[in-house]
Point group: C2
C-alpha cells in the first residue's frame, strides 16, 4: 500500500505554537520534506526541530519551491518535488511536508498536494496557527468580534483594492510593495499596526502608518481596523 503525504502546519514561528498532532505525526514518521534547497536553513525546519529535536536524525527531503512568478519554472519545480516525494510514497512510506503557518492559507503545499493527488496518491492536512492569529495575539487585541467581517489580502500579486468593506483587514506579505500599501492604508482611515517577524528574534512592531518603513521584510503583517471599532 502506498504511503500518505501529510501537509503539516508548524505555525508562525514560536515552536510552542505547534499542535500536539503536528508533533505526533512528525515523531511517528521518518521522511520529512521541507520547502527549500538547504533543509536545515529553512524557517519551517528551524521551528519544528525545537519542538521535536529527533527531527534532526530523520531523512530530510529538500523540495525546492522557487519564489517566482514564472509559471513554467514553478510547474517544473512542483513536478520535480512531487516525483521526489512519490518515490517514498510508492515504497509505502508516509512523507511529512512541513509548512509555515497553516497548510490551507497561502501554502506552497497546495501546489504539491494537487500534483501528488493527480498522480493517484492520498494526502492529508494538519492545521497550524496562522500568522494573522499569532500577530493579533502578540498585540493582545481581537481581530474580529461579534458581527465584524475579516478580510485577508495577500499583496503578492496585485493590490488595487481600496479597503472599503466593513470589518478588519489583514494584509500579508506586503514587504515589497510597502509604499503602495501605505498609501492605500492612508486612504482607508483605519487604525493600523504592523508586525515584522512576529514571535521571532528580529521582531519589530509599528503602531502607525508613518512609522512603517518602506523596506519592510517579507514576513510583515498589517492589521487595519475600523476606527469606530470598539478595540
Amino acid at each position: 500500500m502506498n504511503g500518505i503525504l501529510y501537509g503539516i502546519g508548524v505555525g508562525p514561528g514560536d515552536p510552542e505554537l505547534m499542535t500536539l498532532k503536528a508533533v505526533r505525526i512528525i515523531k511517528e514518521n521518518d521522511i520529512i520534506a521541507v520547502p527549500g534547497a538547504a533543509v536545515k536553513d529553512t524557517v519551517a525546519y528551524k521551528i519544528a526541530v525545537q519542538a521535536v529535536p529527533e527531527l534532526a536524525e530523520k531523512t530530510l527531503l529538500p523540495i525546492y519551491m522557487p519564489m517566482t512568478h514564472d509559471k513554467k519554472i514553478m510547474e517544473e519545480n512542483h513536478e520535480k518535488g512531487a516525483c521526489s516525494i512519490e518515490s517514498y510514497l510508492k515504497q509505502g512510506l508516509n512523507v511529512v511536508f512541513l509548512t509555515l503557518g497553516d497548510p490551507t492559507i497561502y501554502s506552497t503545499f497546495s501546489y504539491l498536494q494537487k500534483k501528488v493527488e493527480a498522480h493517484g496518491f492520498q494526502t492529508a492536512l494538519v492545521s497550524g496557527i496562522t500568522s494573522f492569529c499569532a500577530t493579533a495575539a502578540r498585540m493582545n487585541m481581537p481581530l474580529v468580534e461579534w458581527n465584524e467581517q475579516l478580510h485577508v489580502l495577500p499583496a503578492v500579486h496585485k493590490l488595487d483594492s481600496s479597503l472599503d468593506q466593513d470589518g478588519t483587514y489583514v494584509l500579508m506579505k506586503s514587504g515589497k510593495k510597502m509604499n503602495q500599501v501605505k498609501s492605500i492604508l492612508e486612504e482607508s482611515k483605519r487604525d493600523v499596526v504592523m508586525v515584522e517577524n512576529c514571535g521571532m528574534e528580529n521582531e519589530r512592531i509599528f503602531y502607525s502608518i508613518p512609522e512603517i518603513p518602506d523596506n519592510a521584510g517579507y514576513y510583515s503583517l498589517i492589521i487595519a481596523k475600523e476606527q469606530d471599532s470598539q478595540i
Copy 2:
C-alpha cells in the same frame, strides 16, 4: 503582584489540535475559567480535559456568557464574570480562560479581556486553531492560494451582502439563518461545502447547496469558493 488573565484557544474540537503552549499554560496554573454555567458540560472544557486530564482536579470557574442580543444583560454578565476572575488575580493567581478556536476570532473572551484590562489587570492571549482552517483541512482543500483573498463573515447579526468580492468566503455560525444564507449562496454561483460539528462525533458534511438542511446546527461552517478557482 496581581495575576495575569490568559485567554487560551483550545482549537475547534479535536484535543490534538491544541498547541503545546496551551497545554503548558493549563498545566502550570490552577484557576481555570470556562464560558458556561456548568463547567464540565462546556465544549471548551471537554476538549481541553482530553489533552490535559489533570484539568479535572483544578479550580474550575464558571463564567456565564449568555447568547443574547440584549446589551444590558450581556454587560451585566461580563461585569460579573470579570469580577469573579479579578478576585483571583488580586490574590496574585493567574486565571486561564478557555475559549473555542482562537481567542482573537469572534471569541467571547474579547469582552472579558476589555473589562479586566479597564480595571487595571494584565492579560495575554495564546492562539488556537480556527474552525475555518480545521474545516478546510478536514475537506483536504486549500482555503486560499497565491493572490486569492479570504473573507470571513459571521452570520450572527446581519447578512445582507452579496458575496461579490474576489476570493474565498467563509460563513460562520449560519445555522439559524440558513434559508437566507442558502439563497445568497445560490446567487453567488460559487462552489459550496458545509461542515457541521467539524471533527466531532456528530460531524456532517454537505457538498452542495441543495443538500444543506434549513435547520443546521450552531457549529456549521460554509466554505464558498469561486468556480474558476483551481481547486
